[in-house]
Point group: C2
Chain length 154, copies 2
Amino acid sequence: MVLTEKQKQLIQKIGIANEKHGMQPAAARIIGLLYVSDKPELTFEEIGEALHISKSATSNALNLLMQTDRMEYTTVSGDRKRYFRLKISNWKDGFTKEMESLTNFSQLIMEVLAIRTSETPEFNKSLAELKDFLIFINQELPLLMEKWKKSRES
Amino acid sequence: MVLTEKQKQLIQKIGIANEKHGMQPAAARIIGLLYVSDKPELTFEEIGEALHISKSATSNALNLLMQTDRMEYTTVSGDRKRYFRLKISNWKDGFTKEMESLTNFSQLIMEVLAIRTSETPEFNKSLAELKDFLIFINQELPLLMEKWKKSRES
DNA sequence: AATTTAGTTCTCTAAATTAAGAACTAAAGA
DNA sequence: TCTTTAGTTCTTAATTTAGAGAACTAAATT
């Protein structure tokens, strides 16, 4: 696994971007590695070596990534190694999940509205507006996904 | 500042939701407090007392929240206290910002595509599809915001 | 001038996160 | 059966983060 400077750079950038979204550093860089790697499937050993991380760190990160459905592996018969690869298609699902967290938030806002004092009509009004905005987004995003699918079909 | 059980519960929930998005615990709970508080403006002291956090923690968290444009304060003449309140309207801006981080990611993907080997046409194809999806989303979200604005006007 | 008030900053500690390294397990091969 | 391989788990150390408490500043009050 020889990586060019540019590849290393991108691994860092993708790593940092993912860390910002709450991912562990090692896991974040593994994602980056698999984006730029010339081989789309890498073994446990190759991953650890390429990123200079220990077996324990590699193992933990890979298992985390599989639990969160961002990676998967295949095996080849007569070979005990696992071949790890990205589940790219899941990015779209990931997007959808991100949106679901919006739904949760909009439910929280509704709970808040339900217990708020009526002494603060103005504040409550902007909170209600926020709630409506979130509901709007929640309605529109699935439509957006539909639109995307259709534009692909044609 | 007497808080009901329900209020305390919601502060926790909102706090955790915000922590998941990378916010510091104290700051996240302050946001929660201001959502449920009967007074939409609270002083430094009230905030620290209600959440049982020290002056240093209160000070740091409030300044962070103001730097990130999630809170602001007003003053009343003849009163040295600051009255802190949420910038709720900024949630929408926050949404837009969140979407901008998507734009950044789509640029990273383009950088990746630019240096990828042509030996992996299938992988490259799904990466290109991901890129198109991100571009699509980036185009559509501003339109969505427009639609929202219009629906409000009428 | 001395004191009070409102908030900031500094120092230190506790807790959480991250990952290394070694010991381990389980399957396959010699 | 002994060894190798692939990966896991446990223990420990280093780093980072969060926040308490005390010392401090600057304005206002007495």
